[in-house]
Symmetry: C2
Amino acid sequence: MKDEHIELFIESVVSVFGTMLGCEVKRKEPYLKDGSQATCEVSGVISLSGKAKGTVVLSLEREVALCATEALLMQRPDGINADVTDAIGELTNMIAGSAKAKLEEYELSVGLPNVVTGSGHCINFPTESPPVCIPFECEWGTVVVEVGLVVDPPQGTESQAV
Amino acid sequence: MKDEHIELFIESVVSVFGTMLGCEVKRKEPYLKDGSQATCEVSGVISLSGKAKGTVVLSLEREVALCATEALLMQRPDGINADVTDAIGELTNMIAGSAKAKLEEYELSVGLPNVVTGSGHCINFPTESPPVCIPFECEWGTVVVEVGLVVDPPQGTESQAV
């Protein structure tokens, strides 16, 4: 991961949380993920592919997931239900989409978001694509964005539609 | 999900487990996933995008994940470690790649696999892409493949690299 890519994802998170949720997030220091760290209770996972391949994970504490859904739908969900997983999937999609727009040279397409729930789950990236974790704090709690991006060699065809 | 697509994924699982792991799997009856069902302890997740978009999840009981890794690497792993997550990611990649080759008309590209670990995790698909779950039994235990695939309208451009 290049430093400028990390900055792009930070800008995307700040902008999507500010614009869509009216929520100010403060970035903390990014770090490299060691496989054993569990992520938060609710994680949106989305894939990027094109001239680079990668994954963006938006991992939220339970309370952040509930408050973010409430801000989007104007109604407090009863618990972690389909409204929450769809809302967090859509947030992940917006963050990945916003970063994708700034990474034009890789001609990225964004997959469908899946949302993993359950306390203590851990999302492992392939060894060749170690993720950078970017933590944020907001009034609702902690948000961590994990990004792993691998830029293919120019002649690589594996990531192209064939 | 069309019935013929479900058949393609069944063929892919049978063929990859047979060829790569020397393990015969027996298919059980597919069912639609209701969001509340937890998946097994180790799940490989991979994204498909192109003229259709979707996700393939290969969910394995702990013992199946350990035995499959042992069959691939010729060495028994001590527990769910990076060898196991890389091996299960690669298996998921092979199953998705094998199905992709048979779905030429959608010009699919396959993303990088991520592997979710932790008992009781649940992988939620977007509401517009409800997954079909295909359970299999093998000598090591239970394997479930979950597939959600959304075919875009012909004029859709969202899934194209732009």
